[in-house]
Amino acid sequence: MTESAKSILRHSAESLHADELARLQASDADPRPEGWRLSPRAVRRFLLGDSKQGIERKFYGDDPLVDRCIVTLMGNQGLMLVGEPGTAKSLLSELLAAAISGDSGLVVQGTAGTTEDHLRYSWNYALLLSEGPSNRSLVPSPFHQAMSGGKIVRFEEITRCPPEIQDVMISLLSEKMLLIPEMGDGARLHARRGFNVIATANLRDRGVHEMSSALKRRFNYETVQPIKDLALETELVQKRVAKELALDGTAPAGKPALQQDLALMLVTVFQELRTGRTREGTAIKSPDTVLSTAEAVNVAHAAVLESRYLGNGTLDGGALARQLLGVALKGDPDDARKLRQYMESVVKERARTGEPWKSFWDASRQLWT
């Protein structure tokens, strides 16, 4: 990575894993669908890892889901990833786009302000006035670019767009063609092979703008679930925190940034609050706030930074508790009550078993009072 590249805050997947992609491409002997840079099996290896080739696993918890996503993208249907916030939907879509098209940057972010121009094209008005409608004066949208380049376009949070904007997608997905009437009767852009759409929708945002059944029919739905396996999620959180710290250049030398017992405690807390059930099987009240793996990584990352820059350099349960409350409490008094109840019934009990629960309980108790 060059010095200028190092200063970039967040790299795209194809840039971050350029080396792996190149190796996969070089050794890829399996048949490739037209327009794909890698064969479906190589895409699978890119996401799920391959120890023989030194490819790291990037998506955890549901291998058959990855298979289904790849197969969907080989067909005419778009891929719709739905799930709770923070379940790595965007990560999955980015990785798929990077592996299939070598470009994960063709993204439309769905918002209430998304307009038709974001999906079709707009104009450079200075050139438009001077030269009239031409390829030079046309400003292509990510969709336009994906269609002309035979690539995957990502549509994030599609249900946040108004229905009339969602409807624009129907013709794009069924006709695979974009009319440009300003450039004459015959001006149309036919999508090249390799074009497809990966959309994501957040289950918490449902009802903002429900999708029409016409649009739903053009997608295959895949649900991304939170990771249920405690050991797997713990391992993942540790790896991600180490990676974040490596990117920051603050990774400690010689020891894990987030020790096993602390990681296990943090993930246990997240899983218990997420599922509404303790590891002993007792039902507890689950807060409405998002408690995803990504949030757990954020909490751990922030706690490590806090102990490094504001504390004595040793991470303990207390720093995790302080960061957790910052993440979990987002102004909802109900959530605060549920979290406090959890702390006082579950964490307090476990604090008797010693560290790291003890420092976690001590710190959280101080924050409540």
Binding site: V71, Q77, K216, N220, Y221, E222, T223, Q225
Partner: protein, 802 residues
């Protein structure tokens, strides 16, 4: 464990060829067929309890249609055991070969009744394979390969092979053996011993040696792959053979019809493969010579699923393009996963991806049900009637067919029976009632006229949930110990119930309850005898409660007689008149009878008498509406005598007075009685008892009639505080018989009698500030400390206070 050694291990010992299988696996069944054709064994030994040999002829009958099961009833309280067989069971292939080629076949396993922990079977299937599925080695492999579970991994490794690959049975079974041996290697032998697995294997080894010594030529042993490594090791070893536990196998096994629903490992029976309807399709394909039948089965099932979802409207409209794309999706998934054809997991994946337009965990019930229906199926097998089949089972099947129960399908259905108008529906309901009473899980009453308690008789239809399934057949097999027909078993049980009553001889209510049940069940063979007994016992029945209960049962029977096609109502009317008259005359005895025992016993006795009075009044009301041939005046005169007798217990007098007042013949009766029982001179206890009687019999009277309430109000007003507080619990109990709305009305009435002032709001919360509560608590604890210091803490206990 040496993998190379294991891979090359011969599955043969002394011309005995071992076939490790997974139960109900189409791949194992197909490979076994090839093996049997090539090896042509002299005998086939099958993992199954030895006593099943008695059923070999029955199992070989051409008319047996799978799925069927051999059912072994449990000698004790627990449920019995099932040994299910379907077309894709390797055991079934072995049995077919035995029939077609005339080779010997024997079962070699230990009887389930002799196994360790037999009293409390963890699984009711004799083909439990959960050990392999839960083996640490298999679980690790599942994680490593990214499969969802053991079933998906097994399918990828063994089921998704071409027919030609399966015909190479040597290679196939060697791999199955390797899989099972590694799976077994992570189990602690102590756990296997305590669960009785080692005893079973000792028995199988013993049987294999015995048959080996007896028969010349090749033998084939078909067992679950989990046992094969141990069997081979023991046979090859020179060690002394393990002892086979000896025990009585108990009751004989029966061949019964089985269902796909119960065969499904996913349904919780933990036997064999999941999704039997799917496996049946695969097995049919292999038999027809298809190389990869799963491809056709997946395509057909996607087409049917699409059509079915379209018709049911369970999800977003599933059009033809979606079905086409699902078929392609499944094929591509198989290619990506390096499989010869799409299998069950690919089918499930493509159905979810292409048909479901919402989050997976939100899939509506209809979608899930459709998936399970497609994969699991609900068909039932069939067996021909035979000498060894219990006669009761055949009788029940004949009656069930007559009652229009579908014996081919295990799906639960609701039958709506027009019992008022259609004799055929009444006959069906009688059958359902009979099996339900016998505890056979065939029919469950959902609603309609309640013929036992005589309620809801004006409802038009009766609803029953019906499903004929293997549990029904198993239950009937267990009943077969008691008799040859449902009716004879029911009749026997009714007779036994009478003998088993607590009293030395059954009294009239017991006898009449038996008669009533017999009539409802249509079991009339002993009814004449029971009627004679009633006639004999009638004179001996003197208790008021017994007479009223007898009366009530006869009334219910009379009310429902047209719904049960009861044949002889003449004696019924005669009995009813007699019991009615005797019940009413028994009232006279109550008038002068003071209940015995302590306060609680006395009250309970009086309460039960009042309940009897109310029952009689209810019967009387029915009679006055022309439904009963009873003399209502008789009852009224009895009540009058009861109310007028001075030493009648207060509560009884109150109830009798209230019931008479309700009739309205004597407008001043209540007022007069109130003056007597609540007026000056009456004891407080007597007054509250009288009040309790009124409220128990006719709570609305106190609201309707002003004078009794005023008398009560004045009476209570005359009590001093101590007396009032003493009786307060009694009063509270009395007024609890009124509902809250009536209590509120009553409070209004009483308030009107008090001049001036507003009625306090009963719902107004009394607010005591928490600071006041806290200071009171502190004061109390300081006081307790002082008393304790002075040695006076006993003052704080209730005994000390007295």
């Amino acid at each position: 464990m040496d993998l190379n050694l294991l891979q090359n291990e011969s599955l043969e010992w002394n011309e005995v060829r071992f076939v490790p299988i997974r139960h109900h696996s189409p791949a194992c069944a197909t490979a076994l067929r090839s093996l049997l054709e090539e090896v042509s064994p002299r005998a086939i030994l099958i993992e199954g309890p030895r006593e099943f040999d008695a059923l070999l002829a029955e199992l070989a009958d051409d008319r047996v249609r799978c799925p069927v099961a051999v059912f072994t009833p449990s000698a004790g309280e627990g449920a019995g055991w099932f040994f299910p067989l379907c077309e894709s069971s390797p055991e079934w292939v072995a049995l077919r070969h035995h029939r077609e080629q005339g080779v010997e076949a024997h079962f070699i396993d230990l009887s389930p009744a002799c196994r360790a922990g037999a009293g409390d079977p963890p699984s009711r299937s004799l083909m439990d394979e959960s050990r392999l599925a839960h083996s640490r080695w298999v679980q690790a492999l599942v994680t490593e390969t990214g499969c969802r579970d053991h079933d998906e991994l097994w399918e990828r490794l063994f089921e998704l092979r071409t027919l030609d690959a399966l015909r190479d049975w040597r290679g196939f079974f060697r791999e199955v053996h390797l899989w099972c041996a590694l799976g077994r290697s992570t189990w602690d032998p102590r756990a296997l011993r305590s669960d009785g697995e080692l005893d079973r294997e000792a028995c199988m080894v013993h049987e294999i040696r015995r048959h080996r010594a007896r028969i010349d030529g090749p033998l084939v042993v078909v067992t679950g792959g989990f046992h094969t490594p141990s069997l081979l090791e023991q046979l090859r070893s020179n060690a002394k053979p393990a002892r086979v536990p000896a025990c009585d196998p108990g009751l004989g096994p029966s061949l019964i019809r089985y269902g796909f629903r119960e065969l499904d490992a996913l349904a919780g029976y933990a036997s064999g493969m999941p999704s039997p309807a799917y496996q049946q399709g695969i097995m049919d394909g292999f038999r027809r010579g298809e190389q990869t039948p799963s491809r056709r089965v997946c395509r057909d099932m996607l087409l049917r699923m699409g059509r079915s979802l379209r018709e049911s409207g369970a999800t977003e409209r599933v059009g033809t393009p979606a079905v086409e794309s699902a078929v392609v999706h499944a094929e591509r998934l198989a290619a990506l996963r390096d499989l010869v054809a799409p299998g069950r997991s690919e089918w499930l994946d493509s159905a979810h991806s292409c048909f479901l337009k919402e989050a997976r965990h939100e899939a509506r019930g209809a979608f899930r049900q459709e998936l399970l229906r497609m994969l699991g199926g609900s068909a039932m097998g069939d067996i021909p009637p035979s000498d060894s089949s219990p006669p009761l089972l055949e009788d029940a099947r004949r009656q069930a067919k007559a009652a229009r129960v579908n014996l081919e399908d295990t799906t639960r259905r609701t039958a709506h029976l027009d019992v008022h108008r259609k004799p055929a529906h009444r006959a069906r309901e009688r059958f359902f009632r009979l099996v339900s009473w016998l505890g056979v899980p065939l029919a469950t009453w959902q609603g309609g006229p309640d013929l036992v308690h005589g309620t809801g008789l004006d409802l038009l239809t009766s609803q029953w949930q019906i499903a004929w399934n293997p549990l029904v057949e198993a239950s009937l097999c267990e009943l077969a110990k008691e008799g040859g027909s449902l009716q004879s078993v029911a009749s026997q049980r009714l007779a036994e119930r009478l003998v088993g009553t607590e009293a030395a001889t059954p009294d009239c209510p017991d006898l009449l309850r038996t008669v009533q049940t017999a009539c409802l069940l249509g079991v009339l063979d002993r009814i004449a005898g029971w009627r004679e007994q009633v006639a004999l016992r009638e004179a001996e029945e003197t208790s008021f409660a017994g007479l009223v209960e007898s009366c009530r049962r006869l009334v219910v029977l009379r009310q429902v007689r047209h719904l049960v096609d009861f044949p002889d109502p003449v004696w019924l009317d005669d009995w009813l008149s007699r019991f009615w008259a005797r019940s009413v005359f028994a009232l006279d005895a109550l008038a002068g009878h003071a209940p015995q025992g302590g306060v609680v016993e006395r009250r309970q006795e009086t309460e039960s008498v009042v309940t009897g009075l109310l029952t009689l009044r209810e019967i009387c009301r029915e009679s006055s509406e022309g439904r009963m041939p009873l003399d209502a005046d008789l009852f009224r005169r009895g009540l009058e005598r009861l109310a007028a007798t001075s030493n009648t217990p207060g509560m009884l007098a109150g109830a009798a007075t209230a019931l008479l007042a309700l009739d309205g013949r004597d407008g001043t009766l209540l007022e007069r009685a109130t003056t007597v029982h609540l007026g000056v001179g009456a004891s407080e206890r007597e007054a509250t008892d009288f009040l309790r009687g009124i409220l128990r019999a006719a709570p609305e009277l106190l609201l309707r009639e002003g004078k009794p309430l005023r008398a009560l109000h004045e009476r209570i007003g005359a009590w001093d505080e101590e007396r009032f507080l003493g009786l307060l619990p009694e009063l509270r109990q009395c007024f609890q018989m009124l509902d809250p709305a009536r209590i509120d009305q009553l409070a209004d009435r009483i308030h009107e009698m008090v001049p001036g002032g507003e009625r306090p709001d009963p719902f107004a919360a009394v607010e005591v500030p928490s600071s006041q509560i806290l200071s009171a608590a502190r004061l109390e604890s300081r006081l307790a400390a002082v008393l304790d210091r002075e040695g006076l803490s006993r003052w704080l206990s209730p005994e000390g206070a007295e």
